[in-house]
């Protein structure tokens, strides 16, 4: 496996404008603090299971910022996995929704207390429901892209998932269906490679030098990037998305990222200091380049920490869904 490249020499000037850098940083902090709060809720018994995206903020936040946000095939679709909180916050979601899902309250906006944390669903922004089975979203994604291609416009479909999951046939399905000569599709196929599937290291399992090479046989434009660098992530995502938007063809993007609190609460959810921390690294860079001071960043973090604590207190006291609601929404007529 190729190792994530280190962030570019800090002497090179940051190629994004200041406002954007600050916005990305803000959302990365917000996401990290949200995830840490979710973990804390779990550890304090205010939820049964945690899974999420700390370590993927540098990639997920730019993704959300670059999405064409709206409902219906004119806008971008997101078929995500369970580490996508950064993208959702970048789309403008309030963090309390995720906290409510953690506490499985009736007020949980994504599943009404039915699904695990990190399992978002947001029809108003074309975020398809996140489901636990690994990789099925890759078989579904070509469908929304077909509608987008037919409708016209520049909406694209984005699908994300982990490295281990690419072993499922669904990943191949996505490559095949997206690259059919009869109907190439506007899909941005993303793999976030953290080099692990739960406890299983990628080393023994991947004959590929890079996962992104699997696109080549299908003549799909493919690239591996450092997903720990928000600047590289933003720039590369922008380029890839523009290609997909304009050419109406697939692009396979592999982003090397970190898994900063292990797989999930099942593996303890403790900070893994051996992993590269994209937020720390970005902050060093921002400080060195004079974009933000340490103090500003600390204040930001403290503010979010307080906000999140307050939101968690609200969520914690809200009622659970009533037992008889299990019968609701089996069919759409029930709406």
């Amino acid at each position: 496996m190729s190792r994530p490249r280190l962030i570019k020499e800090s002497s090179a000037p940051l190629p994004l404008d200041r406002e954007l850098l600050v916005r990305i940083h803000d959302l990365m902090v917000k996401t990290r603090v949200l995830e840490e709060r979710l973990i804390q809720m779990y550890k304090q018994g205010h939820g049964y299971f945690w899974i999420g995206g700390p370590g993927e903020e540098a990639f997920n936040v730019p993704l959300g910022l670059l999405m064409k946000k709206g409902q219906g095939p004119e806008y971008d679709y997101l078929h995500a996995h369970y580490r996508q909180s950064g993208t959702l916050l970048a789309l403008g979601e309030e963090p309390i929704g995720a906290l409510r899902q953690m506490k499985n309250t009736a007020s949980d906006p994504y599943s009404g207390g039915r699904n695990f944390a990190g399992h978002f669903s947001l029809r108003k922004y074309n975020v398809a429901p996140v489901s636990s089975p690994i990789e099925v979203q890759y078989s579904i994604a070509p469908g929304t892209a077909m509608m987008q291609k037919r409708v016209g416009g520049d909406g694209i479909t984005i699908v994300t998932g982990g490295d281990a999951g690419t072993a499922e046939g669904d990943f191949a399905t996505c490559l095949i269906w997206s690259s059919r000569p009869a109907n190439p599709l506007p899909v941005l196929i993303i793999v976030t490679n953290n080099k692990w599937g739960i406890s299983t290291s990628a080393e023994g399992q991947h004959g590929e030098t890079r996962v992104s090479e699997r696109g080549k046989a299908f003549n799909i434009r493919s690239k591996t990037i450092n997903g720990n660098d928000p600047v590289e992530a933003y720039t590369e995502l922008k380029e890839a998305m523009e290609y997909v938007r304009t050419e109406r063809k697939p692009f396979l993007l592999e982003a090397n990222v970190s898994r900063l609190y292990g797989h999930s609460s099942a593996s303890g959810a403790n900070y893994v200091s051996e992993e590269l921390d994209c937020l720390k690294q970005f902050e060093t860079r921002l400080e060195a380049d004079g974009v933000l001071t340490r103090q500003q960043m600390d204040e930001l973090r403290n503010r979010y920490t307080e906000d999140m604590a307050a939101a968690a207190r609200i969520a914690r006291d809200e009622p659970l869904p009533a037992p008889e609601t299990i019968w609701k929404h089996i069919f759409a007529e029930d709406k």
Partner: protein, 352 residues
């Protein structure tokens, strides 16, 4: 009259013209073949997919999420079994998202025995499918019902599994589909693709087709009777009708219910009938262990125990790993005319 394959084709034509169906697809569904059973010949939104059932179900789900209305085909239900996780996902998407999303999609697939299809072209799918929540499941036994149920399916906001009893696909109906021409040969000339080169062929659709819909969830009381009830669907339904006729000649009065919709199903119709007759036989051809007929029978026992004059019975497929190719094997594996007639006769005669 149209056969069931033609009825399906006409309903799909109507649906792509009038009900917003956007994609009719699957393996060999588009030109030149138009489906291995001809059900999708000449349709304007029909296209050929890769040989990948997971991709087919996945794409249908995606199209539905993306605002389209897909009608996907699995070439034989025997090949649907690597997609059960996706079918379950389609069935739980509305519920899991607490009503945020819903999937208006139809999956069609031929089921059952009757064409000497051997181990992998004879499967039934009703047991497996009725165990998956969140789907509506239908299975017509006549061309008119196929037409009407497919129209309803194409109007649904939820996933619908449309099971086509393959032994009946080429059987002509007794009832006219509203809008079909009087003359069968005229119909065939209009909508059946020619043999040989089809590149220039275009169907000529009957102009008067309409949104004749059969509501999902309603059975059909095919024959009234007083002494016995038989409930079936699909290939075995005509066998039940014939058995009822035979028994009528012997002086035994059998009520015949074509369930048509497997989920939701017409419990009221079954209940009313069993309360009248006190004896009921459930017939289907899926293998008999953990079989949908066992569900119907369980509910009958649960709700109607004290109305029963004899134990309710099930005639179903043998619990063996496949239907063998040889005639002798197929006949011994799934219910045939005699099995049903005999079972009804013995149920009629059963005394505690």
């Amino acid at each position: 009259m149209a056969n069931m394959a033609q009825a399906i084709r006409m309903a799909l034509h109507y649906a792509e013209e009038n009900l917003g169906v956007t994609d009719i697809f699957g393996e060999d569904v588009g030109a030149p073949l138009g489906g291995v059973f001809t059900c999708t010949q000449g349709l304007k939104t029909a296209w050929n997919s890769p040989l990948d059932e997971r991709g087919i179900i996945g794409a249908a789900m995606g199209i539905a999420l993306g605002g389209g209305r897909p009608v996907a085909e699995i070439q034989f239900c025997d090949y649907v079994y690597n997609t059960i996780d996706l079918l379950k996902l389609a069935g739980n998407t509305c519920w899991a998202s607490n009503g945020d999303w819903n999937l208006p999609m139809v999956v069609r697939t031929p089921v059952g025995s009757g064409i000497r299809g051997s181990i992998y072209h004879s499967h039934s799918f009703d047991a497996t499918m009725t165990h998956i929540p969140g789907w509506k499941v239908v299975m017509p036994s006549t061309p008119l019902d196929a037409y009407g149920l497919l129209i309803s399916a194409c109007k649904e906001q939820n996933p619908v599994m449309f099971l086509e009893p393959k032994a009946l696909l080429r059987v002509k109906g007794d009832e006219r589909i509203p809008g079909e021409p009087d003359d069968d040969r005229a119909l065939s000339k209009m909508i059946d693709a020619p043999l040989g080169d089809r590149s220039q062929w275009k169907p000529q659709w009957p102009a008067e087709l309409e949104a004749f819909a059969i509501p999902i969830g309603k059975g059909k009381l095919l024959r009234e009777g007083t002494q016995l009830t038989v409930v079936s669907y699909g290939r075995t339904l005509p066998l039940c009708s014939r058995a009822a006729q035979t028994l009528a000649d012997e002086g035994i009065s059998v009520e015949v219910i074509d369930l048509r919709s497997l989920w939701p199903y017409d419990w009221e119709m079954i209940k009313t009938s069993v309360q009248k007759t006190g004896r009921v036989l459930f017939v289907n051809e899926d293998t008999e262990v953990t079989n949908f007929g066992e569900h119907l029978l369980r509910r009958t026992v649960e709700e109607l125990f004290y109305s029963l004059l004899a134990p309710p019975r099930l005639v179903a497929g043998k619990f063996i790993p496949g239907i063998g190719l040889a005639d002798t094997l197929e006949m011994a594996s799934v219910p045939q005319q005699n099995d049903i007639t005999d079972a009804l006769r013995s149920l009629a005669g059963e005394q505690p």
